[in-house]
Amino acid sequence: MSPSFRKPFMGVLIALALWALWWFIPSEEERIRRVLEQARASVSSEGKPADGLALLARVGQLTQCLTRDVEIQVDVFGGLSGNLSGVDEVRAAAAGMTQQFPGLKVQLSEIQISELMPTSAKATVVATINTGSRNGQTAQEFELRFRKWEGRWYISKIATVQALRTR
């Protein structure tokens, strides 16, 4: 190899090695981000089939991200409010939602991971939810709690964050 190519080649090699390191041995924060991405992708329809086996596969993909005792608390001012408890309730709700909104698209932004402990973590995210209908886009901030079990992170709690409180 000519000397003029040696340096760029080494640079590319080092960059590839760093990428491989990041991909195959991700940091805990990166692992949590991947769980979030898996959950996001499983609830986003984005034109994917929403019935039969495809639906089951997607809901299954979502439940792989959740603990058995997962809790979801939704309280949006002037909008949706309610609680879900346990993976079965979440599975049923996710299947219903996917069928009701076949064009559902969820995007996550401003992901902040904090309180990262060996077996627990907290994250705040802004979810932009587009139901696919006219004026069907909304953004909502969520706080998520994670638990680590056998080397894998699971979502144990999801709650909406309200900017204003009464007390």
């Binding site: 002037g78 802004v126 901030e141 900017a163 009464t166 007390r167």
Partner: protein, 179 residues
């Protein structure tokens, strides 16, 4: 070559791009970067949506927030502020009526701060015999350090339809400019 460099540059060219176009371009690029960064750091444009700040601000109006307003000062009573609702892009526009350490309650639409009546000249006067503000009631709250009580100017709407309450300082983005 020397003949070329001695050729006088036309006045319109000097006016448009300077004597040395390359230097002018560099200066222009630096200025644009400084303006862009400065604008992003200090000002946030907002689009008013909804009716909770009527009559002061109407649906569809465009305004600007001064993001540096509270770097060295605290929000004051009467300030109209932007609050992070969902991340940095979705904001609430509300007026500060209660400050940290104060006791606040609302009795039949009248705001009481530490037991004293708060005058609110920005509210609509009673119209056609209809009380304005409407007869809202909020039990007494004690504001902690860093907490501010915020509310919209439209008190003629139903209390349940109006989103108001206590906000922590860390969610305040800035003060509305040219209120």
């Amino acid at each position: 070559m020397s003949q070329l460099s001695d050729t006088p540059i036309p006045w319109w060219q000097v006016m448009a791009i300077g004597r040395n176009p390359r230097t002018t371009l560099v200066r222009l690029a630096i200025t644009l970067v400084i303006v862009f960064v400065g604008f992003r750091m200090s000002i946030q444009p907002i689009l008013v949506q909804g009716i909770s700040m009527q009559p002061t601000y109407r649906d569809g109006q465009r305004r600007f927030l001064n993001k540096l307003a509270y770097r060295s000062a605290q929000p004051q009573r009467g300030d109209v502020i932007g609050i992070q609702e969902a991340g940095k892009q979705v904001l609430l526009l509300k007026r500060v009526i209660g400050l940290p350490g104060e006791r606040l309650r609302i009795v039949q639409g009248t705001v009481l701060i530490n037991g004293e009546l708060l005058e609110e000249p920005y509210l609509l006067p009673p119209t056609n015999g209809v009380q304005n503000p409407a007869r809202w009631n909020v039990a007494e709250v004690q504001l902690q350090d860093g907490d501010h009580y915020v509310i919209g100017d439209n008190r003629s709407m139903r209390q349940d339809d109006h989103y108001f309450g206590i906000v922590n300082q860390n969610r305040i983005v800035g003060r509305l400019m040219n209120p």
